[in-house]
């Protein structure tokens, strides 16, 4: 085997190549792969985060829906109660009004009847005298029969 300066030349070339690779080649690819790894990791992390957010959001929306349902039920309940109350009040008012009207009507009727009676009473002596005159064929002295006539009117 002829060992000569080539072995030294090769060693020097080797040292330079390793230095060059270490300094100018390896970092380029290490960075690219690192960057890609980071991008993928970020993407996966973002996906996981989105999933978590979705979960939270759906839980929140379910909760809000529940709340809305219960509050709607409450509102309906309240409205129903209020409606019943209004109806009750209206019934009560109507009854009161009806009673009032009835009372008023009764009072009026009574008044009317009284008035009619009074009128009749006022006219009874005249009618009685006129009737008696017809029967007797003569004039009757009203003054003479005043006592009897007012007694008759009072009986009516």
């Amino acid at each position: 085997m002829d060992i000569n300066l080539t072995i030294i030349g090769q060693s020097v070339a080797f040292a330079i190549f390793v230095w060059f690779c270490h300094r100018y080649v390896w970092p380029l690819f290490a960075n690219v792969l690192e960057e890609r790894k980071r991008t993928i990791a970020d993407g996966l992390e973002a996906a996981a985060q989105a999933e978590r957010k979705l979960e939270t959001a759906s839980r929140e929306s379910a909760q809000q829906l529940d709340e809305a349902k219960s509050s709607a039920a409450g509102i309906i309940d309240q409205a129903n109660r209020r409606a019943n109350q209004i109806v009750d009040e209206a019934k009560q008012q109507a009854q009161v009004e009806a009673e009032r009207i009835m009372t008023a009507a009764q009072a009026e009727i009574e008044q009317e009847a009284n008035r009619a009676r009074e009128e009749l009473r006022a006219q009874v002596s005249v009618i009685a005298i006129a009737g008696a005159e017809k029967i007797l064929g003569r004039e009757v002295d009203q003054a003479a029969n005043e006592e009897m006539l007012s007694q008759l009117a009072a009986e009516l």
Binding site: N4, T6, Q10, F17, V32, R36
Partner: protein
């Protein structure tokens, strides 16, 4: 595929030609220049450099790193193109091996593993280029431009032990460096001297542990060299001996070699990671 010189060369000459390096170095008389014959190259001894394997090695390493850097600069995290996907899959493959095999904190190990893996893979893959294409063209240029008879031109850097041992010895230096850094000089020595038999058997322990330590870089470098050298030699034998019947044989051996090429690159990288991981382990 031996058409370039089959008539004028014997098979032996053909194979020797293909296993020789284009060598630039100091001639015995002191002047520097290309070696024109294997004998001239041998005379240069240590003060020589293999222009072909060294050149291919640097060219492939630089091409790989500059290309990766270009892709890296244009890389986007959201919208990777097919080329970026390919480079990223190589990157992730190496990164995963490092994560599995290296359990300490050292930002140099992963780029080191990537460099080792892709660089060795590319150098090994040169073995799949038919043996005479580039070598043949280079030989023609050598003949007409530089006045060579048969200019050698090896294109598979990992069939040169200088290249593989250059890698493995650099890794050995890192093993020693990190061992001393993390275990301390005493801890590192203790590992060699007090295991496996306790301190009273220290010479015996050292006799076991030092060869074990030295075997790491040697086996690492020679395993890669041996596999690729053997593969290349078989391609040469097929090309030199089989004549026209070489084509199916080349195909079969190339298919087999497609497995060997990445496997050896992978083994080299894994052992690098494992050795350096052991170097970071605190003394037990």
């Amino acid at each position: 595929m031996a058409e370039a010189g089959a008539e004028s060369q014997t098979v032996q000459e053909y194979i020797v030609h293909h296993l020789s390096y284009l060598t630039y170095g100091r001639h015995p008389d002191g002047h520097w220049g290309l070696a024109h014959t294997p004998e001239e190259a041998a005379e240069m001894g240590f003060m020589a450099i293999h222009v072909d394997t060294m050149g291919w090695s640097i060219a492939l390493g630089a091409a790989f790193l500059l290309w990766f850097r270009r892709v890296g600069l244009r890389a986007s995290a959201d919208n990777p193109g097919p080329i970026q996907n390919f480079v990223e899959s190589v990157f992730e493959f190496v990164d995963n091996r490092v994560t599995e095999g290296f359990s300490h904190k050292n930002s140099l190990i992963a780029p080191l593993a990537l460099t080792v893996f892709v660089w060795v893979l590319l150098m090994n893959a040169m073995d799949l280029v038919p043996v005479d294409w580039i070598t043949g063209i280079a030989a023609l240029i050598g003949e007409h431009v530089f006045g060579f008879d048969h200019m050698p031109f090896k294109i598979v850097p990992t069939t040169d032990p200088n290249i593989t041992m250059g890698l493995s010895l650099s890794i050995f230096v890192l093993i020693i460096f990190y061992s001393i850094k993390h275990k301390g000089l005493g801890g590192f020595f203790g590992e060699l001297a007090f295991h496996p038999f306790g301190k009273w058997m220290m010479p015996f322990n050292l006799m076991i542990e030092i060869p074990t330590l030295l075997a790491k870089p040697i086996s690492l470098g020679l395993r890669l060299f041996g596999n690729l050298y053997a593969g290349e030699l078989l391609f040469l034998l097929i090309a030199g001996l089989l004549g026209l019947y070489q084509l199916p044989a080349h195909f079969v051996w190339a298919v087999f070699h497609i497995l060997v090429v990445p496997l050896q690159a992978f083994v080299f990288m894994m052992l690098t990671i494992v050795y350096l991981n052991a170097a970071h382990e605190a003394a037990h």
